[in-house]
C-alpha cells in the first residue's frame, strides 16, 4: 500500500495494479452491501476510490505502527464514501475516473450467493471479504500455474479437498484418492505441495502490494490466523 506513493512511476503503477486486483472486490462489495449503493453507483465509486488512491496518493501515508492496513483502508474508503456524493453530483456517471475492466457481474453473483443480511459489522465484513479476495486470487494463480506446468492432478486434489465448501462434509483422503484414481499417499503429497505453493503465491501477492517489511508482516500475520 505504501508503494502506491513511490516516486518511481513504474513501481507506483505496479503497486496500484496489484492493489486494485486484490482489493477491488472487497471495496465493491462493501459499497454495495454495507453502504447499500445501487449497482451502477457502486461501480463508479469503486473505480473512483482506486483512481484517487493513485492520483491523490491517499493510501500511501499508511503507518503500519498505528493501525492495521485493512482498518486503514476501510476508514479511508468510509471517508471517501462520505465525501464522494458532492463530487459525484457534479460528474456524469463513469466520467472523470480512470476505469479498469473489472468483473462487477461476477461480484454481484457472489453477493447474491452469500445472501448477506442486515446488521452486518462493517469492519468484520471488510476483513472477511479482503481475505477471501486475496485467497481467491491466489487460488486462480495456482490453477494457472498448475495448468501451465502439467500439474492438473495436483490441483484437482487441492480443489476437491481444500476448496470443498461448507454445504456438505469434507471428503476423506480415501474418498478423494478413489475419485481421482490415486493412492492415498499421493493425495497427501499433492495437498502438501499445493498448500506450499498457495502459501508462496499469497505471500508473493502480499509482498507486491506492501511497501515495507513491517507492513508485509502485519498483513501476513493477520491473514494466517491471528484473529483481530
Amino acid at each position: 500500500m505504501l508503494a502506491t506513493g513511490s516516486s518511481d512511476p513504474r513501481l507506483r503503477e505496479e503497486a496500484w495494479s496489484a492493489l486494485v486486483h486484490a482489493y477491488w472486490k472487497p471495496v465493491y462489495k462493501y459499497v454495495r452491501v454495507v453502504w447499500k449503493a445501487e449497482e451502477d453507483d457502486a461501480r463508479d465509486l469503486t473505480q473512483g476510490f482506486f483512481t484517487l488512491a493513485l492520483e491523490a496518493g491517499f493510501l500511501h501515508d499508511y503507518d503500519p505502527a498505528r493501525a492495521r492496513s485493512r482498518t486503514y483502508r476501510r476508514l479511508r474508503l468510509q471517508r471517501w464514501l462520505s465525501n464522494e456524493p458532492k463530487a459525484a453530483q457534479r460528474q456524469k456517471r463513469g466520467g472523470g475516473y480512470r476505469t479498469v475492466d473489472l468483473d462487477f457481474a461476477g461480484a454481484e453473483r457472489e453477493i447474491a450467493a452469500a445472501g448477506h443480511t442486515s446488521g452486518i459489522d462493517a469492519d468484520e465484513f471488510f476483513r472477511r471479504e479482503t481475505i477471501r479476495a486475496l485467497i481467491s486470487s491466489a487460488v486462480d494463480e495456482l490453477r494457472r500455474q498448475c495448468a501451465a506446468s502439467g500439474k492438473t492432478a495436483q490441483f484437482a486434489v487441492f480443489e476437491r479437498y481444500d476448496l470443498h465448501g461448507g454445504e456438505t462434509e469434507r471428503p476423506t483422503y480415501r474418498v478423494v484418492a478413489d475419485e481421482l484414481g490415486l493412492p492415498v499417499t499421493q493425495v497427501t503429497n499433492y495437498l502438501a505441495w499445493a498448500r506450499r505453493e498457495l502459501r508462496r503465491i499469497v505471500l508473493d501477492q502480499l509482498f507486491a502490494m506492501t511497501g515495507t517489511d513491517a507492513e508485509f508482516r502485519a498483513e501476513a500475520l493477520e491473514l494466517f490466523g491471528v484473529e483481530p
Partner: protein
C-alpha cells in the same frame, strides 16, 4: 475469480500456514500457541515415538532476518543445558523453506495462568527465586534473556520452573565466539550484535532502558528488572507501573501487607535507573534467600527496633528457653532464700 465460501476460506487459512512436515520424522498433531515470530506445534517424533514441541517461523521473512533470529534462539537453547531451560533436540529447514526447531514438550502451566491465590507470600517469593537460577546460568554464559514475563515462565507438572522464549536474547561477542566454535554456528547472530531487531521485549514488561529504545545496551540488570517484574506480578497480580513512586505505592497498598524488606527488594529490582538495581541476578537471588531466612537484606537498612524484632523472631525458641530458665532460676532463688 474463483468463489470460495466462508468454510473453505477458514480451512485454507488454517492449512496453508501449517508446516509442511513431509520428508521429516515429525507428524503434526496440534497447535500449542503463537508467539511473536513463530508458532509452536505439538508433533510426534516418529523415530523416537514421543511427543515434541516444534517451533516454526510463521512470519514471512524476505530478508532472512527472522530465520537468523530463530536459528540463534535454537543455538542459545542448545548451548544452555540447564534444568530450567527447555532442551532442543533438532533444528533445520522444512520443505517449504521455513526454519524450525524441535524441543522437549513440557507439560505444565505458564506463570500467568497459575492460580496464586492460595499460595503464601513465602511460596511466591520461592517461585521467583527459582527463576533466578536459569537466568543466572545464562548470564554466566553472557546471554541476556530480555523478555522475562509471566507468560515466558512455565511451571512443569513436577514443579520444575522453566524459562521459555529466548527469541530476543542478547548474545555477547564472547559468547558468540564460543558458540561459533561449537556446531551451531550457522544459526547464530552476527558477532557483538543483539539477536533481534528493533522491537525488543513485551510492552508492560520491558525495563525502562528497553522502553527507551536502548535494547542493545541491555545487560544483566535488564533481566533483574524482568524477574522483579515477575515477582511484582505474583504479589500484586499485574505488571509493574512505570514509575518508582507508583511501584512503591502499589506495594504499600497491597493487602495483606508485605514485609518492608520484601517491598524494598521488589522496589530495588524495579528501579527505573538501572544503576539503582541489583548488579546481578545472583545479588537479587541472595537477597531473596536472606528474606526467606528472616535475615536483613541488602535492599533495606533495618531500624534498631526492626533489627531487635527480627532478632527476637529469628531466635524466638532460644529466647523463650533462656527467659524461662531465668524466671525459674529467680523463683528458685527466691524460694530458697529463706
Amino acid at each position: 475469480m474463483t468463489w470460495i465460501d466462508d468454510d473453505a476460506v477458514r480451512h485454507l487459512r488454517a492449512v496453508i500456514d501449517q508446516p509442511d512436515l513431509s520428508d521429516t520424522r515429525y507428524v503434526l498433531l496440534d497447535t500449542l500457541g503463537r508467539g511473536g515470530m513463530g508458532t509452536v506445534y505439538l508433533a510426534r517424533d516418529t523415530a523416537l515415538d514421543r511427543e515434541v514441541a516444534l517451533k516454526v517461523l510463521s512470519l514471512p521473512d524476505p530478508d532472512d532476518g527472522l530465520a537468523r533470529r530463530m536459528r540463534a534462539e535454537a543455538s542459545i537453547l542448545a548451548r544452555l543445558e540447564h534444568p530450567g531451560i527447555v532442551p532442543v533436540h533438532d533444528a533445520g529447514r522444512l520443505p517449504d523453506g521455513r526454519v524450525f526447531y524441535v524441543m522437549k514438550r513440557v507439560r505444565g502451566r505458564r506463570l500467568d495462568q497459575l492460580d496464586t491465590a492460595a499460595m503464601s507470600i513465602a511460596d511466591l517469593v520461592r517461585l521467583a527465586r527459582r527463576i533466578c537460577d536459569p537466568i543466572a546460568f545464562a548470564h554466566a554464559h553472557r546471554i541476556i534473556h530480555r523478555d522475562l514475563k509471566p507468560a515466558n515462565v512455565m511451571i512443569g507438572d513436577f514443579g520444575e520452573v522453566l524459562v521459555l522464549d529466548w527469541g530476543v536474547a542478547k548474545v555477547s561477542r564472547e559468547a558468540q565466539q564460543e558458540v561459533e566454535r561449537g556446531s551451531m554456528g550457522e544459526g547464530t547472530p552476527p558477532a557483538g550484535q543483539t539477536v533481534a531487531g528493533d522491537a525488543i521485549g513485551t510492552p508492560g514488561w520491558m525495563a525502562p532502558e528497553q522502553r527507551a529504545g536502548g535494547a542493545a545496551d541491555a545487560d544483566e540488570r535488564t533481566d533483574v528488572y524482568g524477574i522483579a517484574a515477575i515477582l511484582f506480578f505474583l504479589l500484586c497480580g499485574g505488571p509493574p507501573p512505570d514509575s518508582d513512586d507508583a511501584i512503591r505505592g502499589a506495594l504499600e497498598q497491597r493487602g495483606p501487607p508485605l514485609h518492608r524488606r520484601l517491598r524494598a527488594i521488589v522496589g530495588k529490582g524495579l528501579s527505573a535507573d538501572a544503576a539503582g538495581r541489583y548488579a546481578s541476578i545472583t545479588d537479587l537471588a541472595s537477597d531473596l534467600d536472606r528474606f526467606l531466612d528472616g535475615e536483613p537484606v541488602a535492599a533495606h537498612r533495618d531500624t534498631p527496633l526492626e533489627r531487635a524484632v527480627a532478632w527476637l523472631a529469628k531466635y524466638r525458641t532460644a529466647v523463650i528457653l533462656v527467659l524461662t530458665y531465668i524466671v525459674l532460676r529467680v523463683i528458685f532463688i527466691l524460694a530458697t532464700a529463706d
